[in-house]
Symmetry: C2
DNA sequence: ACTGTAAGTCTTGAAATAAGACTAAGTCAA
DNA sequence: TTGACTTAGTCTTATTTCAAGACTTACAGT
């Protein structure tokens, strides 16, 4: 499969993976969620090849997940910040981190704890149904074709902006 | 970075990515969640190279995400089924699918709708705090070293997640 | 014996990655 | 005004991974 063409792919997961499915990309985003913003800081904390970092950051900017903001003039320097679209990846990242914590943390426990500021507690993430609020289980979900299923998909490919 | 050594990596996200961070792996798991179980069915629905599929399935079995169950003797044939550990990836997958739906679905809407069987409604996934039940936002979460942390390594990163 | 099926394995060329040297455009200090 | 430093990249080369599809194994049915 040629991944660069996945933006025309039908499945939402495949489209999402075309953007963030690369091994480095989620680690770059993790750093971004931890507050890292500058090229050299990404490089130092991840020990990623500069060439690969450059390419990933460019792709993420192109896709609207990050944006470049100037933080000084002369010489002009930019930092990379999460957009709304980037922040919307938080559920994916936190659930994956918690999966890693659950199955790969050593005896000592997870390396990092997440505290929910409003309630003040360390938490796990719980994915719930937007309609009834119950916790979701894979076995309690059925799939059916949506309005954008195959027949109508080609017509509507060109749109770009975020939709809620 | 050598990905095969990430099982000894410290960060839970990096460890998780060492298992499912490959581009094909999440698509293989999506098929598994949709009920696909046999080698040839994975191959046909994903159009993945057989060699790559074989390798991915083996890794997922080795990691305990899938397990091989015989479905016939003579000749012995196995199918691949999700384990509990595999089912625990559902939150990650559903949130990523919904991210794709939100930002990449065409005007027609998402290609697939998910119905929550117990309540009977089509839903979006909502990630909530296990302690207070409120929906989570990246900006409302702070990080701190957990019991399994390398104390010095993470001190510099202890800051508010995703300040903009 | 011949055809079919399921689950792989092997081969080969193309593409992506890692490591690190190099470049660009400016600042600062002597 | 020369030289060292900073930030953000780009380039080069060797290694690794991937895609495509032919080939293999082990059995069944006719």
């Amino acid at each position: 499969m040629r991944w660069e063409s996945l933006d025309r792919e039908h499945c939402s997961l495949a489209r999402a993976l075309a953007v963030i499915g690369d091994r480095w990309t989620l680690l770059v985003l993790r750093e971004a969620f931890m507050g890292v913003r500058r090229f050299d800081d990404f490089e130092k904390s991840l020990k990623i090849a500069r060439r690969v970092l450059s390419e990933r950051l460019s792709l993420l900017v192109e896709e609207g997940v990050l944006r470049k903001i100037p933080y000084q003039e002369r010489p002009i320097r930019y930092e990379y910040r999460l957009t709304e679209k980037g922040l919307a990846l938080y559920p994916t990242i936190i659930t994956l981190v918690h999966w890693g914590d659950r199955f790969y943390a050593g005896d000592a426990g997870p390396p990092i704890l997440h505290t929910h500021t409003p309630c003040g507690h360390d938490f796990r993430s719980v994915v719930t149904c937007s309609e009834c609020g119950e916790a979701l289980d894979a076995r309690a979900v059925t799939l059916r074709p949506g309005p954008g299923s195959l027949k109508t998909a080609n017509r509507s490919r060109l749109r770009t902006a975020a939709r809620r």
